[in-house]
Symmetry: C2
Subunit: 410 residues, 2 copies
Amino acid sequence: MEAFLEEAKASSRVLAGISGADKNRILKEMAQALRASTAEILKANALDMEDADRNDLTPALKDRLLLDESRVEGMAVAVEEIAALKEPVGRVLDGWVTEDGLKIEKVSVPIGVIGIIYESRPNVTSDTAALSFKSSNVCVLKGGKEAQHSNEAIAKVLRAVLKKNGLPEALISLIPDASREGVAKLIKMDKYVDLIVPRGGEGLIRYVSENASVPVVKHDKGQCHTYIDEDANVENAIRIAINAKVQRPGVCNAMETLLVDTAIAKEVLPLLKEAFDAAHTELKGCGETQEIIEVAPATEVDFDTEYLANILNIRVVDGVEGAIDHIVRYGSGHSEAIITENITTAEAFLNGIDAAVVYVNASTRFTDGGAFGFGAEVGISTNKLHARGPMGIEGLTTYKFKIYGSGQIR
Amino acid sequence: MEAFLEEAKASSRVLAGISGADKNRILKEMAQALRASTAEILKANALDMEDADRNDLTPALKDRLLLDESRVEGMAVAVEEIAALKEPVGRVLDGWVTEDGLKIEKVSVPIGVIGIIYESRPNVTSDTAALSFKSSNVCVLKGGKEAQHSNEAIAKVLRAVLKKNGLPEALISLIPDASREGVAKLIKMDKYVDLIVPRGGEGLIRYVSENASVPVVKHDKGQCHTYIDEDANVENAIRIAINAKVQRPGVCNAMETLLVDTAIAKEVLPLLKEAFDAAHTELKGCGETQEIIEVAPATEVDFDTEYLANILNIRVVDGVEGAIDHIVRYGSGHSEAIITENITTAEAFLNGIDAAVVYVNASTRFTDGGAFGFGAEVGISTNKLHARGPMGIEGLTTYKFKIYGSGQIR
């Protein structure tokens, strides 16, 4: 593993000299090569699917694993879209001249070597390899072992394009030991690896962030709230609450608890109940909620649970301060929304809540690189440092200071 | 410790509602209070100095520990200078409207609770408390036990000003257990602490970064190089090399190894020898260097050593690529300089070297918040992520996305 990572790190040096035009041309060649290798990729995928049958994987897992012609085409298109992104390296982020006459430029640069740990979907192999290459980073990939044949076939195609262009294949590689022990080693190798991005289930992410000595872009749970204020537009409030809970309950930006201002509870709770009943949402409520509508009781544990299912807690709170109290206690710092027409109340909420994304009068479901207009999403970070919230390709860069002098000494 | 940190975290909430004007007024009151409490602070310091005598501290350590009237005045002035900095919270870093019509603002916000671990100098207590308060962060301070009385006296003054202004004293506090075990606990408390900034010796920083689960802004060693290119202005080259090594050898941005282009070695090495001899620098050289001037031999270990003393390695290298080869192998990613009049060579160096700060025609000694014009320096980070290189008060902020909608759902 160490020799492998040393080679990966050493290969990063060629990326300093490669132009954006060359990178984009090579990415387009990779997309074409993926298309041209569809048959080989599907053959490898068929082996993974056979293993999946043997190992009795769930239908959902099998669906994530399965490739067909249109999914390979989708992978190629995704690589072309990444080629079309604006060059992330070399942006001048800031610049000034010091008292000593030194011209300082703060410039975006690649991070170096990025370890990406993911699960079943084989398209993550080409997506993240392309994002890394576009941002002039080396990637070392660790996919799920259930997708090993597919990932190897995809990586082989991408590496052949690198080789054809006179670049080291080590710029994109699968780690040699894809076992649990391999991961354990990888995340401790801060000498060679500059960042770990785990993409996958909660268990994986928790394991990586608790054990890594390499910095990690975490993606923890989303315990998201929507607060309906006394001054809400009730029609908006109901549409947004339904959307935040029901449109896709299994994702991190879905709402888990709805907070309702006591001043408006009697008016709005019956309407909410009607709407959520129509959406087949299982409702749980605090004592005050239960006095107004018929719902099961919500416990302390419920308020702390990320259901990832069509289940919702409702709690009546005392104004925006009550809502903030609840969110400070139970929120996970992901996405929080207030529904109000009152600008002062809105700002009190937006400023008072410590979360990656805070909304007024919109659904928390918008916390997403695509909805933000980032073109490609590396992930949604629940870190407070480096990257917070939806993370575009800029999240794969850091900066350096380039200083132009003319003989200055201190 | 846990109850203490829980209180610290809870207190952070009041900072969301406090204006910049109030913060600056309170900081100025703190400066005045430090002045007014000079006698008490010096009395506490005298107790530390007595302990220092009993424990036979070195004269250098005693000097760092000692306070007198002018040093207390210096602390007050530093707090006033921090009050005068531009407000670091609420800066709009980016902003756009999405396809869905959501207005997104990316806004700087405090990090939350910052743990600062430092050694003898008592002025770090007031400096870092003021920087944290200015950036609306809570700080939990762990100073050296040799300065315990002084730190307690200073913290007492600052906390009294908080109390007088109706703010929780927990915004600025010394950790209750200042032992090694206390530190070990503190750096694992990621539930309450958002960032650890260790300020002090290499041992402390290594211990903290290897054991913390809280993110750390590291300040590792500076193995800095200056490369004199064939196209250098020789007079500049010598002035800069002398300055980078001699002006203050004991700091991280001082040069440890001088690289000289083989094409200019015969011309420049005798001049360098003369200048460094005059500056009483102990010189070590590679084989080629030894053929041209009389110096002791430099070993592999020498090239890897941060001397922090008036000792210098010299190595002859084959052009800018040879210089980059050496720096890739031995550099610590801190500060690296090239001396050349050739713009193409300069850019090859600036782009080819992966370091926080890269210079053309200037001394590496400028890697410093003050020289960068940051007003106040939190530290010099050798992290690649969050903050890299000299770190101003902005390094104590992160960001959130504030999103203004009008009923948008997905």
